[in-house]
């Protein structure tokens, strides 16, 4: 069963949500889902761009009460 890992990058200015994801994606298995929590609006755009470039799967992004949730699946 694929697991879902939460990367809670709220309040992370350095190293920031995308860097946290780049580090965290290597810690899950191929097929696993990651949910990144971020309070930085920029990461809602930045993370999907990187995901597309590298070739993982973007499941979706949503915002609730000032928190952005970006869901991704590691594909390789």
């Amino acid at each position: 069963m694929a697991e879902k890992k939460i990367i809670d990058a709220r309040g992370s200015f350095c190293s920031g949500p995308l860097m946290e994801l780049i580090a965290g994606i290597k810690m899950v298995e191929i097929g696993d889902e990651i949910e990144v929590l971020s309070t930085d609006k920029g990461s809602a755009a930045e993370i999907p761009q990187w995901i597309k470039k590298v070739g993982h799967e973007l499941i979706g992004t949503r915002e609730e009460a000032g928190i952005w949730y970006v869901n991704i699946r590691r594909t390789k």
Partner: protein, 377 residues
């Protein structure tokens, strides 16, 4: 009450000293015992590695005897922990000794993990240990020209180090008079030259001015040492003559082997700094899994919070402070001026205009570090 501190680096040292000073009377009367277990009798000023790598500091200048930095009353042993028995409130050391504790603090730091990238260890130069920094200095001394590529993995400790080594290499080759024969090519994992936006806004034009080339969204995937080519996760390639890397980091092996946290990062409550699920185990510095800079200043501010809470636990039976995510870092903006960034979980960094005064303060900090480690700054 037995307080056990594992790790005698930046975080562990400040914490032990703060607690020993605040509980001086209790330590003297034997009501409180503070023990520190570390892996070395020396304490390294790690930013010194940058200077060693370009021949501006000797390795010896980076070290002080750890015992000389500690308040009287702290029992210090060079005997690294091998086994954590958290359910029994005990640790076992390399010498086979078992230490009991009421409160445990883990501050064992982090280490380079070049094995994560095929070909990296064999083909790159590093500078995050004394040995590799000395070797890098010899390599750049022998270098007569060509392309130097700087590449990093994430997470790595000290977010300013990639920029600092790049600008220091620029100065080094200028001083040697061969800067025109050396291409310095900087790479960075995300879409700008530094993770802090304001730092990136300053650093990118500075690189343009100095003729340092750069490439962003570059995450190393493998190194082909024979062809001298780097391959990235993003599908791009870069040729190099010399590769200098700050590889991805891990926590210490002992954290992994004891299954305290994946890759050696211990799940830590971001406000209380206790290990998740353990109210008498506190985690400090690089080895937490909190998504903030792995830096000495982080370890310092965390140590202040945990120290105050340990004192409160002894005196009131409850903790009194929460960590707000505070980080402070100097930003050298050229050889004569510097600024700083201060931020926390809620407040983004807002660096002020660089000044000479901050530059001098940063230089002074190279010495003030030892006062800071004593918990006096």
């Amino acid at each position: 009450m037995k307080i056990l501190v594992v790790g005698g680096g930046m975080g562990g040292t400040i914490l032990a000293n703060n607690v020993a000073r605040s509980l001086k009377g209790d330590v003297k009367s034997g009501k409180v015992q503070i023990t520190m277990l570390s892996a070395s009798d020396k304490h390294m000023y790690q930013p010194g590695l940058l200077y060693v790598a370009v021949g501006k500091m000797t390795p010896d200048e980076m070290y002080r005897d750890q015992a000389s930095l500690l308040e009287p009353g702290i029992q210090f042993h060079v005997d690294p922990v091998e086994t954590f028995m958290l359910d029994a409130n005990q640790v076992k050391t390399k010498s086979g000794k078992v230490h009991n504790y009421d409160i445990l603090v883990i501050a064992t730091g982090s280490r380079m993990w070049p094995d994560a990238i095929p070909g990296l260890k064999e083909n790159a130069e590093f500078f995050y240990t004394e040995e590799t920094a000395v070797k890098l200095f010899h390599r750049i001394r022998e270098f007569q020209g060509g392309k130097i590529v700087i590449a990093m993995g994430v997470p790595h400790k000290c977010p300013m180090a990639p920029l600092e080594i790049t600008f220091m290499l620029n100065d080094y080759f200028l001083e040697r008079g061969i800067r025109d024969k050396v291409q310095i090519h900087y790479t960075y994992p995300i879409g700008r030259v530094h993770t802090l936006e304001n730092v990136a806004k300053w650093a990118q034009p500075e690189m343009d001015r100095l003729g340092i080339t750069y490439e962003t969204l570059f995450n190393l995937k493998s190194v082909d040492g024979e062809k001298r080519v780097l391959h990235s996760e993003e599908g791009t390639e870069i040729n190099y003559d010399m590769l200098i890397s700050i590889p991805a980091h891990k926590g210490m092996e002992v954290i992994e082997t004891n299954k305290l946290g994946q890759n050696g990062w211990i799940p830590t409550d971001r406000f209380n700094l206790n290990m998740e699920g353990r109210t008498n185990v506190f985690i400090l510095g690089d080895t937490t899994n909190i998504p903030i800079s792995k830096a000495g200043s982080t370890a310092h501010f965390e140590a202040e919070t945990v120290g105050a809470n340990i004192v409160a636990l002894v005196k009131f039976g409850v903790p009194v402070r929460k960590y707000d995510g505070k980080v402070f870092c100097f930003i050298q903006t050229g050889s004569e001026k510097a600024t700083y960034a201060m931020f926390n979980y809620n407040q983004p960094p807002d660096p002020k205009a660089p000044t000479r005064a901050i530059h001098w303060f940063k230089l002074a900090y190279n010495k003030l570090y030892w006062i800071s480690a004593r918990g006096l700054l």
